[in-house]
């Protein structure tokens, strides 16, 4: 009975979750990790003309510690993989990853000895954007989709694996 209030119908927790989600989705601070061509289009998307800041991606920080969304734009080579892993590890939870462009998604045309075939095998990716490079609109669309995903998240459940375990047992 104790868990009844938390288990979905709980008004307070749902509202708290909504509040958290609202806050998170309105300020996805990006870490623009542009390594190659897609970085230039990402620059366009961030700069005037498209202005990603309209969706709350206002503060572009170049340190992973203060970012929520890792926008991986460009090729990741095998030499770079440890660096990418490190950046991802340095980001604080909650964190999301957008893979921009063919190279980041799957290696693209560079099916070669030195290119990592997609960053999905290295770090978890939330959104894949095909294109080589995608238009700035394509990047903005992905950001909007990411915001949708953040809004549908359950931050309080996710943070407490033990609680979920208990709930599962309760059922």
């Amino acid at each position: 009975m104790k868990f009844q209030a938390i288990q979905g119908e709980g008004w307070l927790l749902t509202k708290a979750e909504q509040l958290i989600n609202w806050g998170r989705s309105r300020s996805p601070w990006p870490f623009p990790y542009g390594t190659a061509c897609c970085g230039i289009e990402l620059m366009c998307a961030l700069a005037s003309g498209y202005d990603m800041a309209r969706f709350g991606a206002e503060r572009v920080a170049f340190t992973p510690r203060q970012c929520d969304v890792l926008i991986e734009a460009g090729t990741i080579t095998k030499k770079m993989v440890p660096v990418l892993k490190r950046i991802y590890a340095q980001m604080a939870e909650p964190k999301w990853v957008i893979a921009v462009g063919a190279c980041a998604c799957s290696g693209g045309v560079f099916r070669t000895y030195s290119t990592q075939q997609g960053i999905g095998s290295v770090i978890p990716v939330d959104i894949y954007i095909p294109g080589c490079p995608p238009r700035p609109e394509g990047i903005l669309y992905a950001l909007l989709k990411l915001i949708d995903k953040i809004e549908a998240d359950h931050p309080l459940y996710k943070q407490r694996p033990k609680l979920i375990e208990a709930l599962e047992a309760y059922k």
Binding site: C105, V109, V125, P130, C132, G138
Partner: protein, 215 residues
């Protein structure tokens, strides 16, 4: 040690005082600000200084823009693709797989050619949108449309099958965004000679084997 030319910093008075130039710069940014405010009140089509309010105000895309692929039908509603696989061979990223098939009994009039593609898959994550498939297609069946909103949560959804490519076409047709047929490129038969030949093609030796003298 590295040699460095000595550079004398010679400033004019205005530069030395330095507030003059700062003032000029600030004036310029204010001019932009006023211009932008004015432009935002202007009616009519989008003007440059303000930004494109993307989801609502979409930018005009060139009709030849290379976006998501689609498989075209002809005016009679027949599939143009014959499954020859030329696009797959021309693709530098090797992201297209085509299987050739014969149309089933009684369905021949659904296809323009005698054969058809049994399956047609494009891995959009690999695709680099270079347009080589479009150039290679002898039937003008596969074209790159104008869709650019391709982001997906799941990478498996980015592998477009035949159904989805045809759906792309139907959607584009409904919205009137079909790609105009490519104009034939005027190819020259007898070359009109340039007045001064560029150095790159100064010597014309055809059919001369490169290593003949080395052996």
């Amino acid at each position: 040690m590295v040699r460095r030319p000595v550079v004398k910093k010679e400033y004019t008075l205005g530069e030395r005082v330095y507030l003059v130039e700062i003032g000029k710069g600030l004036g310029l940014t204010w001019k932009h600000f006023v211009y932008n405010v004015k432009a935002s009140f202007r009616k009519g089509p989008h003007t440059v200084p303000t930004c494109w309010q993307y989801p609502e105000d979409r930018r005009e895309i060139a009709p030849i823009f290379r976006g998501a692929h689609m498989l075209q039908l002809n005016e009679k509603g027949q599939e143009l693709c014959v499954g020859c696989g030329m696009c797959a061979r021309a693709c530098p990223a090797k992201c297209i797989t085509v299987k050739r098939g014969k149309p089933a009994e009684g369905e021949e009039d659904k296809y323009a050619g005698k054969t058809m593609c049994a399956s047609f898959e494009i891995d959009m994550l690999r695709c680099i949108f270079c347009g080589n498939c479009e150039k290679a297609c002898p039937k003008n069946a596969i074209v790159l449309g104008q869709d650019y909103e391709l982001a997906e949560y799941d990478p498996n959804l980015c592998i477009y099958d035949k159904k989805r490519l045809l759906a792309n076409f139907h959607r584009a047709k409904a919205e009137g965004r079909l790609k105009p047929p490519r104009k034939p490129v005027p190819v020259d038969a007898p070359a009109p000679k340039k007045k001064t030949p560029s150095k790159a093609t100064m010597t014309k030796k055809k059919g001369e084997s490169g290593d003949s003298e080395k052996a």
